[in-house]
């Protein structure tokens, strides 16, 4: 039998771990910065009790790893929109598209910071959306919340729209950036919003207007369409889908062992239909369908294109009926 590599089934757990780690880092980094400012002020005795608590906690957490916290904690800074990791700067490709269209200038040091994400996206497709994006963690928890609501009997939105809307958002955003001369994506792109608003809340004393916008997208997901923002509006998702159109790593259904249980279709966050082999550029390789498949019929493979529709799974009733009909037809002919 064509069994998938056993580790693929556990990638979903790794993905949740990655998402939680990224989110925890986004919360920790602002606190580390606050701790650094207290250090720079050299006035522990003047701190308020709650500030002292932050100081003590952060001191306890970081002392084993750093000698001179005031300088060494600059090792990792920023968020997924743009960050620096040990002097190596990384930026979201969308920020580069937005900045070039806003300033109509090409600034190479900045563009090179997006090179690594670009290459990874070209190879793994829209993996950022499923594996790193801090908003994804909240959105997926929101999906689970919606499932609970549905079980209780409340109405939860499950509408479907045209998936090409997000490409229009991307194009329109570039146009608005050119006209107004501002990086308009920075105000509507959820990962950028989440990272920034956590920093504002921790270090600058309150959420900004971006948090309200993020809550609106949350409500959109809950009341109108499941993962609606990611699927239909997110300009970053659109850009990643375009870059990862000819990605190497794809998910496929092993038609020999599939039994048409349709669990993969119901688990897919992006409303794709693995049962009909329609992944396309929208699939973010989140591996949730591999993890849920009860007969190990989903696997990774390396190819530039999806395999086309394979028909019903060979272990399912529909295929057996087809075969039966075929056999009957043949016997009739004979």
């Amino acid at each position: 039998m064509n069994k998938p590599f056993f580790l693929w089934k556990h990638l979903n757990k790794l993905r949740w771990l990655t998402l939680i780690t990224v989110f925890a880092m986004l919360i920790t980094i602002p606190y580390l910065h606050v701790y650094q400012t207290y250090l720079a002020a050299h006035a522990y005795d003047l701190l308020q009790p709650d500030e002292k608590q932050i100081y003590d906690t952060m001191e306890m957490l970081t002392t084993p790893f750093v000698d001179d916290p005031e300088e060494d904690l600059d090792f990792i800074k920023g968020n997924t929109w743009s960050g620096t990791f040990g002097g190596f700067q990384l930026s979201d490709p969308l920020s580069i598209v937005g900045q070039i269209s806003a300033s109509l200038k090409v600034y190479w040091p900045f563009i090179l910071t997006g090179l690594l994400p670009f290459i990874l996206t070209a190879v793994f497709g829209r993996f950022f959306c499923g594996w790193i994006c801090p908003a994804t963690l909240l959105y997926e928890l929101n999906t689970n919340f919606a499932a609970i609501l549905r079980r209780v009997g409340l109405h939860v939105g499950n509408k479907r729209y045209d998936r090409r809307l997000k490409y229009v958002v991307l194009g329109l955003g570039v146009l608005v950036s050119v006209v107004t001369g501002t990086v308009v994506f920075a105000t509507i792109y959820p990962p950028a919003l989440v990272g920034r608003e956590i920093y504002y809340a921790v270090a600058l004393g309150g959420f900004g207007s971006g948090a309200v916008f993020f809550m609106l997208t949350f409500l959109l997901d809950l009341l109108i369409a499941r993962r609606g923002f990611c699927r239909y509006i997110c300009p970053g998702g659109a850009l990643y889908s375009l870059i990862g159109r000819f990605r190497l790593f794809r998910i496929k259904r092993v038609v020999e062992s599939c039994n048409d249980c349709a669990k993969c279709t119901s688990i897919c966050e992006f409303g794709l239909d693995p049962l009909k082999d329609s992944f396309g550029q929208e699939c973010n390789n989140c591996t949730a369908c591999i993890a849920i498949c009860p007969v190990d019929a989903m696997t990774f493979y390396v190819s530039l294109q999806d395999i086309g529709p394979q028909g019903p799974g060979h272990a399912g009733p529909k295929y057996k009926r087809q075969q039966q009909e075929l056999a009957d037809g043949q016997s009739d002919n004979e």
Binding site: P30, H33, A186, A192, Y200, I233
Partner: protein
């Protein structure tokens, strides 16, 4: 006839698509209202592009400059500012820049470019001589001269024992003097360099 109807249908569909695609940007724009920004209280961080429009176009709003600032003086337009939303500013009346260069080093774009200490141009300090304590003979002070990180390039006493501060052309506008000024009406502030250093005599 049907082709005409089809064209019309596609036009309506396209218009609806375009309108719904513009919604997020409209909403986010309305959430950050355009307010009058007082430039004395909103200095751009050191090394910022001088032209305001160019700065807004170059800044991607990542917040890195704020996250490395040791005195945490870099704030952001978090709930207002229209096009300037999420761009950094420094309010020297609350917390002033210490010219440590970290924000310029970390900025991924050219919004904050690395600049030598004496070439930084955030503005220039301006002193209201009708309010400053030594200038109106209400005692001795010298806080601004004492704190200045650039020494007598930037600010000096009028006479060596008179404690009347005079701003020199070497001032880079970091705003530390504004932060320490003990006068409640803050008779020292940072103005744009091109405006000159003529006192405006506004006592509030």
């Amino acid at each position: 006839m049907s082709s005409r109807r089809d064209t019309l249908k596609w036009l309506v569909y396209g218009a609806a698509l375009l309108a719904s695609a513009g919604m997020p940007m409209l909403i986010s724009r309305f959430m950050s209202p355009d307010v009058k920004i007082n430039r004395i209280k909103h200095l751009r961080p050191p090394g910022a592009i001088k032209d305001e429009q160019d700065f807004i176009a170059a800044c991607i709003g990542c917040g890195l400059c704020g996250e490395v600032c040791p005195p945490r003086c870099i704030k952001f337009h978090i709930r207002d500012g229209a096009n300037q939303v999420n761009t950094p500013y420094i309010n020297p009346e609350e917390k002033a820049c210490i010219l440590c260069n970290k924000c310029m080093e970390v900025c991924p774009t050219e919004a904050l470019t690395e600049t030598k200490l004496f070439d930084i141009d955030m503005g220039i300090a301006q002193i209201d001589r009708s309010a400053c304590y030594p200038w109106v003979d209400r005692g001795i002070c010298g806080a601004c001269v004492g704190i200045c990180p650039l020494g007598d390039r930037a600010i000096v006493f009028k006479e060596w024992n008179q404690y009347k501060p005079i701003v020199q052309s070497g001032c880079v506008g970091c705003g530390l003097c504004v932060e320490v000024c003990p006068h409640p009406s803050l008779p020292i502030w940072i103005v744009e360099r091109s405006k000159g250093s003529v006192a405006r005599h506004t006592i509030t």
